[in-house]
């Protein structure tokens, strides 16, 4: 009988536990370090973008380029993903572009919107639905003077106890007319994951 009583108590506890089955959701700080797993994460994205922008705006030739209210026109080309992970490099370029534009020293041309802009211009000028006095003139866009591009490479090593991941992000700025590389910046990140000996 005693066993029966214990069994009932245990079963009751298990039923209560089963009730609260939803995970706990809460908001966190977007800039807090994230160490859920060893792969490329939000903290890496932020540290790369932050470091690159700081280096770029404080480089003396770039400072003289952007002094006296001059704002050179830049376009961002692809960042090549040369790592062993599926990383969306466009999100890195978006963050860098945002910070640079908000610093007020550069102007950007968005190459990803070219197709949509062209469609809109064709609609405005050729569809006959838009008042000619209120359309945007064709062929009046500004050409970029500089190009920003780069690559993200990684070296991954693993043995039976440790996994070591090293990222190197390189960003380059090239003058489209002269072909000279005006600036190059590099950011390195190393992450290590060690196996625990004991866990639940």
């Amino acid at each position: 009988m005693k066993l029966g009583k214990y069994f009932v108590v245990i079963a009751a506890c298990m039923m209560l536990v089963a009730c609260a089955k939803d995970p706990v959701v809460s908001y966190g700080d977007a800039a807090a370090p994230e160490t859920t797993s060893i792969g490329f994460g939000s903290t890496d994205l932020q540290s790369i973008a932050g470091a690159m922008v700081d280096e770029l705006v404080s480089f003396p030739p770039i400072v003289s380029l952007t002094s006296q209210g001059k704002r050179p026109v830049v376009f961002v080309d692809k960042i090549q993903n040369k790592t062993t992970e599926h990383i969306d490099t466009e999100s890195i370029t978006d963050t860098i572009q945002t910070k640079l534009l908000q610093s007020g020293r550069f102007q950007f041309v968005d190459m990803t919107a070219v197709k949509a802009i062209k469609e809109q211009l064709v609609f405005q000028l050729e569809s006959g639905m838009v008042d000619p006095a209120k359309t945007v003139a064709f062929g009046r866009q500004t050409g970029a003077e500089y190009m920003l591009y780069g690559n993200l490479a990684s070296i991954e090593k693993r043995n039976s106890k440790v996994k070591d991941l090293y990222y190197k992000f390189t960003l380059k700025m090239v003058n489209l007319e002269s072909g000279l590389m005006e600036w190059i910046g590099e950011k390195e990140i190393r992450k290590t994951a060690e196996k625990r000996f004991f866990s639940l």
Partner: protein, 462 residues
């Protein structure tokens, strides 16, 4: 009475924990048959109910979850369902990567070890073999190529290179021993011709090719060359050469990408102007499955000792057939050559597992023996009989491995002029038409999979 209750509850828990559709009582190769058949069903046949419910979600929770993911992903890829196959392979990759960083001793793992002591090894979660992991990345790369996503395919090829390197490092000691034997007995280290005849170098090649995947290296090399990265292509071609020095075209490939007057892309050489490159990988059969070797004998006082171990039949390493390609005028263009023997990879992995397998078998024998003793003490002959029957029925060998992998792979390559070509694939048993569109300066990879007298042809543009 208390002891009976304890052992009875233990047995009951063990049985309850693992029953749902796993390989604890049903051997895995039997379950895998339906995947092998589904690989060749057309969508119409599948929808008409021939195998409409072969994919059940319960299996993704049990100990064989990884295995079912792999089988399904492979079958979906063969049927051309690349997007779903990508998702399933991605889940399998995540499981492999999580397992890399798992703690050495896990409390939750103890329950599974405990039940495997009372039942059999099939109640332990399937962890996947290193050679299977290589195939996951290779097939995932092919999935991305089929969806025209070269960047993602490049990531998978890089991951493949990393895994191949790690695999070789794990067997460092063995490979180093074979290499030192080779070095100490060879006089001329640079002559390529001697490499083919030297028995030590053959042993080294064989050892490496039972670990590493030459098919993956060759496809990588072709991919990197098509992308223009000739350095990476050269490294991968050289690795293929180490594993398969007898491939007739490998030396030409290496010479081309590391040319003395500078590395040359496929389309750059004079003879290939205006032509496209075609590489055909001929995957055949299904990899050998393990078989059970059972042993049961009485050990005095009415107790029964039973043992079941997995083994490969002596004929497991079969040979592969070759494929000949003929053009519109029935003229032979090229014949395929063997590049990979998957059963050899599986066998090597099995050999590595034998010591732990035997250890677990011994522990299991002790546990079941104790169960029989306790049952006899407390319930007399009936208890002993029940324990004997349980011991006999629950003793099943762990026959799990990825069974829809091909048994072997052969490769052939050639260049064709631009345009549409109607060719013929000829083997000993059948002739199949092959219609391809070749573009100048471009590489086309075709995967031909043949098993159970049926064939599937899939093109991948690089």
């Amino acid at each position: 009475m208390v002891a009976i209750k304890h052992s009875g509850i233990l047995v009951l828990l063990a049985l309850l924990s693992g029953c749902a559709g796993t390989s604890i009582f049903q051997p895995y190769p039997f379950q895998a048959e339906r995947y092998k058949q589904d690989a060749f069903l057309t969508t119409h046949q599948a929808n008409s109910g021939a195998a409409s419910s072969i994919f059940s979600d319960d299996e993704l929770d049990g100990p064989d979850a990884l295995l079912h993911l792999l089988e399904r992903a492979r079958v979906l890829q063969l049927k051309g369902n690349y997007q779903q196959s990508t998702q399933l392979f991605a889940q399998a990759i995540k499981r492999f990567e999580d397992a890399d960083l798992e703690a050495t001793l896990r409390l939750s793992g103890l329950a599974e070890q405990g039940s495997s002591l009372l039942l059999n090894d099939n109640s332990r979660a399937y962890r996947g073999a290193p050679y299977e992991r290589l195939f996951v990345h290779l097939y995932q790369a092919m999935n991305y190529l089929a969806q025209d996503n070269k960047d993602a395919a490049a990531v998978e090829f890089r991951k493949l290179a990393l895994e191949q390197k790690i695999l070789l490092e794990q067997y460092e000691a063995e490979v180093a021993q074979a290499e030192s034997r080779l070095m100490s007995e060879r006089i001329d280290l640079n002559a390529l011709s001697s490499q083919l005849q030297d028995p030590n170098s053959q042993l080294l090649s064989e050892l490496k090719s039972s670990l590493q995947n030459a098919y993956a290296f060759y496809l990588s090399a072709v991919f990197w060359e098509a992308q223009g990265d000739l350095n990476r292509a050269r490294i991968d071609y050289q690795k293929v050469m180490e594993l398969r020095p007898d491939l007739s075209f490998i030396q030409d490939d290496i010479a081309r990408v590391s040319g003395s007057s500078g590395p040359l892309h496929w389309a750059g050489s004079e003879s290939n102007k205006g032509k496209g490159r075609v590489v055909i990988f001929y995957e055949q059969g299904f990899v050998a499955a393990r078989e059970e070797a059972r042993l049961a004998f009485p050990v005095g006082e009415g107790r029964l000792f039973s043992m079941a171990l997995p083994a490969y039949a002596p004929s497991h390493i079969g040979s592969t057939k070759s494929l000949m390609l003929r053009d519109e005028n029935r003229e032979p263009i090229a014949t395929s050559e063997p590049i990979l023997n998957v059963s050899a990879l599986a066998y090597k992995h099995y050999q590595e597992q034998i010591p732990m397998l035997l250890l677990r078998q011994a522990l299991r024998a002790v546990a079941k023996h104790r169960l029989q003793e306790v049952s006899q003490d407390k319930m007399g002959l009936a208890g002993l009989f029940a324990a004997n029957v349980f011991s006999l029925l629950s003793e099943r060998a762990d026959l799990r491995s990825w069974l829809t992998l091909p048994q072997g792979v052969q490769v052939l390559q050639f260049s064709l002029s631009q345009g549409e070509h109607e060719l013929e694939l000829v083997t000993d048993e059948r002739i199949d038409p092959l219609k391809i569109q070749v573009q100048s300066g471009q590489t086309l990879v075709i995967r031909v999979f043949e098993a159970n007298n049926q064939i599937r042809v899939q093109p991948f543009r690089l």
